[in-house]
Symmetry: C2
Subunit: 216 residues, 2 copies
DNA sequence: GTGTTGCAGGTGTGATCACAAAAATGGCTT
DNA sequence: AAGCCATTTTTGTGATCACACCTGCAACAC
């Protein structure tokens, strides 16, 4: 029985909380590709019944963050190489545009924040912490793209990130590189110089860089 | 081993049927922007309880085909001008890329099919039938983009169409033009000539053409 | 006339149950 | 040992219900 009312400014609906938590975890690579889940298990984890878990899962499936087997079983997606390539191309398309739109609005304060985030990225790379790397890397990009004032485009880019989340975890987890992100510095330099072609090239290079590691 | 997981003649899940039907209707402009709906009403329409209606609505909300008010009420979205502009820019980005990828695989049979569809588009315009125009226009574009062999990109484009569906109905419903689609002919001509820059320009023009009508 | 209040119907949310189908299990035969 | 079949357990689906809240709307006070 629900005796606890829900004021508009207080706790959000349970299904929304589950959705947001799972979405963040998937996007940041907390889950491996092909990891199975169950509605009852999710509900148990969050102390609710299957109903809100079902709604959260349904939303995530619609965004491509989870996949359903032919019998309805839930799991994180295992992407084919063709699909990874496609999603990387989508990232390049959308994120280059977002960066280009953010450029005229990028002031010094933003550039400094990007540099701060970038040191965290470099630290995550040095510690070989795949999850931290993915999280800070996404934060770097999102901080830049927020300046574009294009919420629909940003949502599209986040949907692509979401679909790539588990796969990126698997890729970066196997990787053994320790070099700091070079293209992030190029992005910052192009922002500071107001160089739009350079910015577009730097973003495109940074986005497609991850794809190259797949070929090996 | 599982020899027969899902027979072809077996009925799909109810929530999936509702989802697909509503999605098609929204994408084709069958519903006006801001049109309210209820879970019980949808369930009544399809002869089921609220449960499958809820799951279908949840999926559509996740794709941006429906919006929830702060109190959870369901309605088709009413887009701001800024958002329409953004979605049109996304269409241009993604669909130009799809057309470009489809170009090397476009053989004569495809071009003839596009011409056939285009006559249907012209007929819908002549009859001032907004819903038929939207449906045949989408069929024209989808037929071309299917040749790109890029399902993730096509899904992205369809998500944008979905969000624009009700708004396009409202726009084209008010419109009083009778001229046949000029840019479709340019697209076909560029395909026949193998002219990639011309194709990209024609697709971009066709996609952003609808935006211009909004300014008036 | 205009703004306010109270009430009734409707709405989304979440819990619980029944059911069918799919996996997992365990015992059996070969 | 390895493969196979029957049984049990688990899982998603859909129906139904209780509940809190929102929305209209009518009656009322000023």
């Amino acid at each position: 029985m629900n005796l606890n009312p829900r004021p508009a400014d207080a706790a959000p609906a349970a299904h929304d909380r589950i959705y947001r938590t799972l979405r963040t975890r998937i996007m940041q690579g907390d889950l491996s590709p092909g990891q199975p889940m169950t509605l009852r298990g999710i509900g148990r984890d969050y102390g609710v019944s299957m109903t809100p878990a079902r709604e959260a899962v349904r939303r995530l499936v619609a965004e491509g963050a989870l996949t359903l087997s032919s019998s309805g079983r839930i799991s994180t997606p295992e992407l084919s190489n063709e699909r990874i390539e496609e999603l990387a191309a989508l990232r390049a398309l959308i994120e280059v545009e977002l960066a280009s739109r953010a450029l005229p609005r990028a002031h010094m304060a933003l550039i400094e924040r990007l540099q701060t985030i970038n040191t965290a990225v470099a630290e995550a790379v040095a510690h070989r912490d795949a999850v931290s790397y993915i999280r800070t890397n996404l934060e770097f990009h999102r901080t830049l793209y927020l300046r574009a004032q294009a919420p629909a485009m940003l949502a599209m880019a986040e949907t692509v990130w979401l679909q790539l989340g588990p796969t990126m975890r698997a890729l970066y987890g196997k990787l053994r590189k320790t070099e700091p992100p070079q293209f992030h510095r190029l992005i910052i330099a192009a922002l500071r110089a107001g160089d739009e072609p350079g910015l577009r090239l730097a973003v495109r290079s940074d986005v497609t860089q991850g794809l190259r590691m797949l070929a090996s």
